[in-house]
Symmetry: C2
C-alpha cells in the first residue's frame, strides 16, 4: 500500500498521485497517466530547468510510457496553465522552468546550465514607458556567464 500502479509505472506514491491530480485539475487539465507521471518528475524535487528532450529521457528511463510529441504538448499545456514557464536563452533549445514565480537567471554559456536568481535580489530600475498600445508583460534578466 502507499504505492499505486499508474499504468505500468509504479514509482508514484498514493500521496503524489493525489497531489498531482489536484494540481492538474486546478489548472483545468485532465489528470491522465502521462500528465501525472510528467508532473511528478517535474515537481517532485524543487525547482528545475528541463528541456522536452531531457524530460522525455527521464520519463522513459523511469519506465513511463510516453512519446516525445506528448511531452512537448504537455509542457506547452503546463505552460499555458501557469504550471511551467518557458525560458529562452539559447535559441537552439527551449527550457522549461518549474519555478513560475518572480525570478531571473544565470545562464552558463559554456555548458548550457541555468541557475535561478531570486526575484528579490535583483532590481531593475528605469524601464521606459512601453510604446503605444503595449504594456509590460514581464521583465527578464539573463546574466550570461563565461568561464573565468
Amino acid at each position: 500500500m502507499g504505492v499505486q500502479i499508474v499504468g505500468k509505472d509504479l514509482f508514484m506514491g498514493q500521496r503524489a498521485i493525489q497531489a498531482n491530480t489536484e494540481k492538474l485539475r486546478k489548472a483545468g487539465l485532465r489528470p491522465t497517466r502521462q500528465r501525472l507521471a510528467l508532473a511528478q518528475l517535474l515537481f517532485a524535487r524543487g525547482d528545475r530547468h528541463v528541456t522536452a528532450e531531457g524530460l522525455h529521457e527521464e520519463a522513459v528511463s523511469a519506465g513511463v510510457q510516453v512519446s516525445l510529441a506528448t511531452v512537448y504538448n504537455t509542457m506547452h499545456q503546463f505552460t499555458a496553465s501557469g504550471l511551467l514557464r518557458e525560458v529562452t536563452v539559447d535559441g537552439t533549445r527551449t527550457y522549461f522552468d518549474t519555478n513560475t514565480g518572480d525570478h531571473h537567471h544565470f545562464y552558463c554559456q559554456d555548458d548550457g546550465t541555468l541557475v535561478d536568481i531570486d526575484g528579490d535580489q535583483i532590481e531593475v530600475a528605469g524601464v521606459p514607458v512601453p510604446p503605444h498600445g503595449a504594456k509590460v508583460d514581464r521583465v527578464d534578466v539573463i546574466v550570461r556567464l563565461k568561464r573565468r
Copy 2:
C-alpha cells in the same frame, strides 16, 4: 562617378564602398562583394534588428546576388568580429542587432518586433556573485510586451 558597380549591384556610392571596405578591414574580414553589400544594407541606416532570412530577402530585392547560406555565414562572422550582436528572445528565430553598444530591448511578443532601450536608462542592481569559476559576460534585460 559617385556610383561604382559592385558586381551587378549599383546601389552603393563610392563613399559607402570605401567606408565599408575600411570597416571590414578593421574587423579582419576581406571586403568581398557580398560582404560589402550586406554591410551596406545593415549599417547604412541607423540601428537595426534583422534576421538572416530578412536580410537575404532585402539583398535579393536590392539586386544583390548572395545565397542564404552566405548571409548566415557572414552574419556570424560579423558577430564574431564585433560588428553585430546576436539577440535571443524567441527561440524560433535569431535576431542580429547592429547596435553593439550597451543597451537592452523591448520585445513585442505579438508581432516579433524589437526596440532598443538605451543602456543608460536601465539599471540592474543586485546581481549576485556568479557561481565558482564563472564570471559575468553580459547582462541582458528583455522587457516583454503584450498588447494592452
